[in-house]
Structures are given as C-alpha cells and as structure tokens.
C-alpha cells in the first residue's frame, strides 16, 4: 500500500537555525506532493505543492522543497526559522488518480525557541 513517512517527529531549533524536514513516499507511479502546516489552533494550510516541472518548489513564508524522484523524497527546507514557524508540518501525497485523495505522513512538530 502507498505510504508517506516523515523522519522527524519532534524537532526543536533556535531562531535563525536552518530547517530540513524529511519526507519519503512509497509509490512507483505519478505523484503530486504537498507540504501542509498547522499552526496551533488553526486549520491545515498549504505551504507548497509539486505537480510537475521544476523539482525545486518555493512556497509561502520562505519555505522550499525539493522533489528527488530517484529517492522518492520531498524534503522541506527553510534557511532561517523564526519563532512564528512553531507548528506541525505534514507531508502529503496524492496519486495520479482523479479523486485526489491525500495520503499523509505522521507529521513533524517543530518548536522554535526564541
């Protein structure tokens, strides 16, 4: 069965540190890739998405992610985190089918210390 795994469950960083959150998926066909963020008390918001084209995708708030097809990975990066980036981050995949259902990773809680 298709699955998504996020390597880090809980990450603690100081402000200005660089961030990389790992995401791998298991599916051999065409995929669409997403990172969502959930700030405390808020709904899931889209950070960035990849459907096709340039594998380096830029999103909101200075985040970017790189799709490496050979590694089945879509890691999220940010060069310098801020306290306001404290949130839970979810990697998700939809398959090439039309229904668009998302398969989520287990989420990574990011805590940024001021």
């Amino acid at each position: 069965a298709q699955s998504v795994s996020q390597h880090n469950h809980h990450v603690i960083l100081s402000e200005a540190a660089s961030l990389e959150l790992g995401c791998n998926y298991s599916y051999g066909g065409t995929v669409n890739l997403f990172w969502y963020v959930q700030y405390p008390g808020q709904h899931l918001q889209l950070l960035l998405k990849y459907f096709s084209g340039d594998p380096l995708v830029k999103g909101i708030k200075g985040f970017e992610a790189e799709f490496i097809k050979s590694k089945f990975s879509f890691n999220l990066r940010k060069p310098s985190v801020q306290w306001s980036d404290t949130a839970e981050y979810f990697c998700a995949v939809s398959l090439g089918s039309n229904t668009g259902k998302l398969i989520f990773g287990q989420g990574t809680t990011l805590q940024v210390k001021p």
């Binding site: 899931l44 889209l46 259902k101 287990q106 989420g107």
Partner: protein
C-alpha cells in the same frame, strides 16, 4: 480568501448515538473530502465526493458512515451509531476542478465519544 468552514468545533456524544458533522466547502469547488485524525496518529482519508456521489472511500468508511450534499452548499458526514474508537478530529476539505488545485481544509471538528 475563501475558507472551508466546519461546525461544530467540538461535539460530545454518547456511544451508540448518531452524529452529523457539517462542512461548507468553498463555493466554486467541486471535489469534497473527509479525513480524520485520531489523537497521536496520522491524518487518514475517509471519503471523496464528486458530482453528487462518492468517488472513493477508505476501508475505515464502513456502513456506519455516510456523506451527503443536501442543499448544494453543505457537505455532511454522518456516523450512524458511534463507537468509542470514532473519537477523533474530523477534517473537511474541498478543491477546485483543475487537476493541479490543492485541497483547502476546514478547522476540523473534534468528536468525543463517551
């Protein structure tokens, strides 16, 4: 920016009772979804809905569950006879027609079964 809205934000129900969770998707969206997240676990796909019918459902979505779009704006999830293990956060999502549209999520309904 248009939002997906969900009501209620928290529902407490006795085991065996029926519960209806309500969602108002973004008005021009055509694909609708329900997901759930049991505390400490992944966000899991339940069902997708398009053109007034279920387009895909997971194995979680058994005969106890049903979805409806009763009036062209609301999208409801009904659980006929709730069980303790139905306690979870339930998220509604919607997306537009184009293939490369991301899903937009509501704030979720926390369902607690006693």
């Amino acid at each position: 920016e248009p939002e997906v809205t969900q009501t209620p934000s928290h529902q407490v129900t006795q085991m065996g009772q029926e519960v209806i969770l309500r969602c108002v998707p973004i008005s021009n969206h055509l694909y609708f979804y329900w997901y759930r997240q049991i505390l400490g676990q992944k966000v899991e796909f339940l069902v997708s809905f398009y053109n007034n019918e279920i387009s895909e459902k997971s194995e979680i979505f058994d005969d106890q569950f049903s979805v409806e779009r009763p009036d062209g704006s609301n999208f409801t999830l009904k659980i006929r006879s709730t069980k303790l293990e139905d306690s979870a956060m339930y998220f509604c999502a919607s997306r537009g027609q184009a293939h490369n549209q991301p899903q937009h999520f509501g704030d979720g309904t926390r369902l607690s079964i006693l």
